[in-house]
Amino acid sequence: DESSSKKDLFNTLDEFIRVDHAGESGAVVIGEGQSLIRPSDSTIRDILNQEHGHLFTFDFQMWEKRTRPSLLLPIWYPLGYALGVFTSALGRSSAMVAHEAIEHVIVDHYSDQLRDLYQHPFKDSPELVHLSEVFSRFRDDEQHHHDLAIENHSRDSPFYSILYYGISAACHSA
């Protein structure tokens, strides 16, 4: 009935916003870890600035939709920071491998969420329409970061395989 469907809509919004907020928080702390080691790298800085913009959007959505943040944020912050510092310390191309792996997983994740939104019974509600526009735009940004990482010689890293598959597996499990 209508009331339980609306609760369903609220729960869907909650889940999407919480997961994406946790993801963007992770992306920001990884970027900050990397920029600590390579503060003058303009590519890392540009990616970080865009991720800050994404995080701001989800922060505001969380505030507006009264969503609780992920319980695992205290774990993602130090782990993400350490990953950023570690990959940046290995070399610039290794830092780019991290971005290539993470953005690949995130693009797939946003695509899955968009598919879920388009099939949702309340897909025409203003909240879900707005959210699908946001996800679509962010997915394009993340795809751009992925392509930027490849352009910046991520595949030249001597640790490419181990870093790419390791970070992808970690992101999938997260």
Partner: protein
């Protein structure tokens, strides 16, 4: 009942037409009239159902019996607190005052039963049989209070990372202050519960001091982390 779009309280407490309206009416009648006669028991609920000229078999609609009426009353108290705060927002000067005001308004809604020395029975009944729903109700209220206190202290332009990792700590703090104050109020015999409001003030002050301690500890940790990573960065370069 019109509610703010995403207020958590109203999200979970929407009254649908038909069965819910009837149930709401029965809860109201039970809590306003029959609990004084029958106590917080299913007999009070049966008496309210009979007043609606329904068969007493209709008690089957209420899976938790009298606890559903008590829970409905607690939710109404939370909504009353939120609405009263919304109307008196202009007179608040700090987040601490917001927390104190909202907790006070919710407790005032229940003051009638406390004065009549009946609320202990309601709390006992809820804790025995519907503990998880009572805790959820308290969580929703704590979320509302913490959200309003944050909104009061943080302008919208600074919402970035407003929640951080103390989102849960704030709500737990509010829940504990509320629970402690409610328990204190049960044994308060002062005029207009003045001792309870003084106790509430002390509890909120203690939480604020704890928060300041937490912020200082975090500052020390941040400084340590910064020094360690700067050292590492210099070593790498």
């Amino acid at each position: 009942r019109k509610c703010i779009r995403f207020t958590n309280l109203c999200r979970h407490y929407s009254v649908r037409k038909g069965t819910d309206e009837l149930k709401q009416k029965i809860y109201r009648t039970t809590m306003d009239k029959y609990v004084y006669e029958h106590g917080f028991t299913n007999n009070a609920l049966r008496a309210a159902i009979e007043e609606e000229r329904l068969s007493t078999m209709a008690i089957g609609m209420f899976e938790d019996g009298i606890n559903q009426a008590i829970l409905a009353h607690m939710e109404e108290a939370s909504i009353y607190a939120a609405k009263k705060y919304a109307s008196e927002k202009q007179s608040m000067t700090s987040g601490k005052q917001v927390v104190m005001a909202m907790i006070k308004y919710k407790l005032e809604y229940q003051a009638g039963f406390i004065k009549a020395n009946m609320w202990k029975q309601a709390m006992g009944s809820i804790m025995l049989q519907s503990k998880s729903k009572a805790i959820e109700s308290l969580q929703r209220f704590a979320d509302e209070v913490a959200h309003e206190a944050d909104a009061f202290e943080t302008p919208e332009s600074q919402m970035v990372n407003y929640h951080k990792v103390d989102w849960y700590a704030k709500r737990m703090g509010v829940s504990m202050v509320y629970a402690a104050t409610e328990l204190y109020m049960l044994t308060d015999t002062s005029e207009n519960f003045e001792d309870t409001w003084a106790f509430l003030n002390d509890q909120v002050d203690a939480c604020v001091s704890l928060k300041a301690f937490g912020e200082e500890a975090k500052m020390v940790m941040d400084m340590g982390t910064f020094m360690a990573t700067t050292y590492l960065s210099n070593k790498v370069q």
